[in-house]
């Protein structure tokens, strides 16, 4: 079980960074394709995110190649499906860095695979662009060539905590997760953060996602006086049980938490549509409707997706946006700085306010987490339209 996240560069290539091509390309291989290592989880137990991101990556690469590539060279994705298994990811890293000799790797998407792959990629001195949220992946001392184009779990939890404490102004929270690595780690990180914000955590627990009955835990939360439930899990079955049990108990408490709360799979498992009311999931400001409208960059991106007939009904806008941003960021870097790992890293260390569809990215030599806190928001899950949601009530614009 794992979690994945992604970030994106802005779509409009006409944006800030259209530098003229820098140094002359090396004499050899002038027209060879530029190889990009790519480690999505396209099959296995938690692959729906990977599939969504993959649509964005493929679209981005196709568009760039259709427009003639980068400096006359096509981009070639070397895809290795990690199958949601860390062992497969380790094998794949060896292939990408040692045999394919790629200059940059995008992925992996899931936490277990990303945690195993990152030290190995760092050892082989290959630049790495992370769509994954796990905090430990970014460490400029241990992994100086790894950059994140997405928020960290801390930022994501912080966004939810901010909404609970500062927007809804609630004082007693119940925090629950499944027993996966992602779930337990999230609870352990977010609870102290909540407490620091002055919210009392009246219930905290991990429940096996296979456990069919969440009533015991929900009753414990209720009797402890919880004013909000904060679930951290990517398991749609688990999340839907929370929402269904809440509905069956007639308990009118808001649920604030993981993005999967808003997924189509969670929706399909609800006993009644009303169980989706007062549920707020993580999302990203650029990909949310505010007063019925998407921000300009996102709207432009959606139009582009519609034109390319990209399927939107079964996935989320920000997944696709993250994949697309990743492709754009890499293409732009190749164009501006070159295709070698050290050239890429040197360029990334200076990226500032890069306007992605998914988020606005800024990196410095000291900080390789590029996603701004303020763009992590909550949305209303029952407002899904074209893969995007309404911003949750209460935010000032």
């Amino acid at each position: 079980m794992s979690i994945k996240r992604r970030t994106v560069l802005t779509g409009s290539a006409a944006g800030v960074v259209s530098l003229t091509s820098g140094l002359a390309a090396p004499a050899i291989a002038q027209s060879d394709p530029i190889r990009i290592g790519y480690l999505p989880a396209l099959t296995g137990p938690s692959s729906s995110t990977g599939v969504g991101i993959n649509r964005g990556v493929q679209l981005g690469i196709d568009e760039i190649n259709a427009a003639g590539g980068v400096n006359g060279r096509k981009l070639e994705l070397i895809v290795r499906d990690t199958q949601s298994e860390p062992t497969k990811a380790v094998n794949a890293v060896a292939e990408l860095t040692q045999r394919q000799k790629v200059g940059v790797i995008f992925g992996p998407v899931n936490s277990g695979e990303a945690l195993a792959a990152t030290p190995l990629i760092a050892r082989d001195k290959v630049a790495m662009l992370h769509p994954c949220w796990v905090d430990e992946l970014i460490d400029v001392k241990k992994y100086p060539m790894a950059f994140r184009i997405a928020p960290t779990n801390t930022q994501v939890g912080g966004g939810a905590n901010f909404y609970v404490a500062d927007v809804l102004k609630l004082k007693k929270a119940a925090v629950i997760s499944d027993t996966t690595g992602y779930g337990t780690a999230s609870v352990n990180t977010y609870v102290p953060m909540l407490k620091a914000k002055g919210v009392e955590v009246v219930y905290q627990g991990h429940v096996d996602a296979a456990n069919p009955d969440l009533k015991p835990d929900m009753l414990r939360m209720q009797s402890a006086g919880a004013q909000v439930i904060m679930p951290w899990s990517v398991n749609a079955g688990f999340l839907s049980r929370i929402l269904n049990t809440r509905g069956a108990m007639g308990w009118d408490v808001p649920v604030v938490g993981q993005t999967t709360l808003g997924s189509g799979q969670t929706k399909a498992l609800l006993e009644k549509p009303e169980n989706w009311n007062k549920v707020y999931s993580n999302n990203f400001r650029n990909c949310c409707y505010e007063n019925g409208k998407l921000p300009a960059r996102a709207q432009e991106f959606v139009d582009r997706l519609k034109k390319s007939k990209i399927e939107m009904g079964d996935t989320l806008l920000w997944w696709i946006a993250l994949g697309w941003d990743g492709a754009q960021m890499m293409a732009q870097t190749f164009k501006a700085a070159g295709t070698k790992s050290d050239e890429i890293v040197a360029y990334w260390n200076k990226v500032k306010d890069w306007p992605g569809v998914y988020g606005t990215v800024t990196w410095t030599p000291e900080q390789h987490n590029g996603f701004p806190d303020r763009e992590v928001v909550m949305c209303e899950v029952n407002s899904l339209k074209d893969g995007a949601f309404n911003l949750a009530p209460g935010y000032s614009s």
Binding site: G44, G205, V207, A210, P216, G237
Partner: protein, 285 residues
Amino acid sequence: MFQSIISYGLAVGAVYALIGITYNVMFSASRVFSFTAGMLGMLGGVLGALFITEWGLPAIVGLVLVLACGAVLGIVTEIVTVRPVLKSIDQHLYVLSTLAFALMIQQLTAIWWGTDARPFPRLIPVGAGWLDQQFWLPMLACAVTIVGLELLYRKTLIGRAFLAIAEDSYAARALGLPETGLRMASYALAGMIGALAGFSGAEILLAFMGNQAILNFYGFVPVALGGMGSNRGAVIGGLALGVFQQAANFLVGGIFAAVAVFAVFIVVLLLRPEGLAGASAARRV
């Protein structure tokens, strides 16, 4: 809370009990424990959701189709994985052949149905709260099965033939009973019971390929505790397990509930390998 422990515990326990009976029916006919018991339960839910939700068939037609599929799978299990290895039952090759077959079906389900849980339709919108259909349906299925089996075994000729095979297959064959045919019939029956278990419990357990492993284990616990071949033992064991598990969820919660069940299982088996109610088996020289 007490109410929730009882209603949920008994409902899940009834599913475990039915899977336990599935193990037993196959065991009685062939002296074989088959890993396909949990597979049948998993498919009961998945196929039910497929027929009723995806294809839009009426619930009763869906149920009949699910039972038919269970029966067919039972027969296939018998022909492919059990009959060829019965000659050398001492080598326990059936453990491997049934495991392989169950894994194959599970992987096919994962590929064609997906690895995520999907909802199971609400069949009879009767009852609310702890009287909800999702609670009483498994118990009803369990009661119908156990009564049906009793009637079958006690009142019908074919049922008595089943018992004769279970008691002593050599003697039964000597009496001219068609052992192979009866074994196939038993596996078909087991297939239906297993599928019914999954079907009746699917509103709680969802249509999910991961249920296979869970049902394989939790369905086997009542057999191990109640003594192999004993359906009454399986029902009592299954219901007790469901309530125990649910109580552990309430009292200790989370991870430790699962550990508690495993620990009890292993300790009981070490102390009484023949089960709490069973008798020890004779020697084999």
